[in-house]
Symmetry: C2
Amino acid sequence: MSDLTVRSSAPAERGTAPATGSAAFSPLYQQIKALLVQSLDRGEWKPGEAIPSEIELAARFQVSQGTVRKAVDELAAEHLLMRRQGKGTFVSTHHEARVRFRFLRLAPNEGEPQPAESRILDCRRIRANAEMARSLELKAGDPVVAIRRLLSFSGVPTVVDDIYLPSALFKGLTAESLAGYVGPLYGFFETQFGVSMVRAEEKLRAVPADADVAGLLKVNLATPLLRVDRISYTYADRPVELRSGHYVTDQYYYRNSLN
Amino acid sequence: MSDLTVRSSAPAERGTAPATGSAAFSPLYQQIKALLVQSLDRGEWKPGEAIPSEIELAARFQVSQGTVRKAVDELAAEHLLMRRQGKGTFVSTHHEARVRFRFLRLAPNEGEPQPAESRILDCRRIRANAEMARSLELKAGDPVVAIRRLLSFSGVPTVVDDIYLPSALFKGLTAESLAGYVGPLYGFFETQFGVSMVRAEEKLRAVPADADVAGLLKVNLATPLLRVDRISYTYADRPVELRSGHYVTDQYYYRNSLN
DNA sequence: AAGTGGTCTAGACCACGTT
DNA sequence: ACGTGGTCTAGACCACTTT
């Protein structure tokens, strides 16, 4: 079933220098980890489902339970999996409050976080420009779905997001299907298209509101807005979403932890 | 030497409900971890120094090497310690490039990050207002050192920071001592006052530049700036710094990773 | 050669949840 | 009672660094 490279059977691969140019050696648990990610990426286990028990995985990969454990531990630390004592290990899903706060980092100055109300303003097919192509690893001109949406909290418009998705991965995505959905967008992507967002990189800047966005957010022209440019990645570190958001930050702030 | 609570010797502490009101049970490796943090906090091992080997620690705490390993692994994951194969485990220090990027998250739109030039604009003793008292766990009116500094990149003024520190922890801190120091501020705090910043929480907003800051950053009044409010914590999760920064984000951006 | 952390194994027992 | 993940141990061997 598996073709793992064991230390004792492949000492030659471990030179002092990568003279052969071949793939670098990696510990068993890293190989297990890669195989698990591969299974997740292929959809062998769906978000919310349990993966096989550690004992089963150990048997499947022909390694000890401790080695499987270390691989799963790291995937749990990266939030791809969630362990629940007594129950099993589950594939993370965006249909949970905890996960949502990891990807929507707005918190109110006062009081408890309120659920966001989402309104789809636009959804159309376009062609990737140079930036989209570079960010999403597409070719310029490749088809892309462009979505514009407005997030409000307690009726106050707060965020305008422009979202760009490779059409190839989101076939059949329309404004209607979006409008009929309640809950987080990433949950929708997960269940409808089998695309799970795992990680994202963001660039934050303060910018003046242009006429377009100012109108939607009901703020004055040139009001300072927090602009958040995001690239989201799925399991195999493939970029699958480009997003540019404008946040009104008088009643809300973007929270971040430096570790 | 140690007074660890072992599972087998203290089963009574582990009720279904904390009816006794006593401290909750915690695994051995968590107890070891807490003892290690305590030693770090007391300055038993200084930043940059090696801590005892795993074998020594196992002997000291009367546990197996594997249990020590798990404790150290977590502290390494939190960047309090750094492991170096073949050499030992070392206390993290801010006198390193890697650590700096964790706490200064500005990156240029184009090209490689340049070293920042720091200029101390002001350093004075003040009394804690309500916000400072709350953030730093002081009493209103407690003495606080207030520092204002300007960061420039390639001669371009980019960040104005207002920094507030509990005077009790930073005795003898003056504008002169600050001015004579080269390198990151947190490195200075670490070596001069034995205060190591380990973690921070930030709140980000877009705000218009006021006259004061606009003048220092050489931007127009009301230019959108990224405002970053930070509370930094040292080993025992004690807040030891309150900081408010204003960033010009036309040539630089604030980078963040969502995991 | 010796000492350090890194990997891997095998087994025991505990805590939690379900049957 | 059983199966799951969680903790702890003891030992073997590997990889890196210094002596």
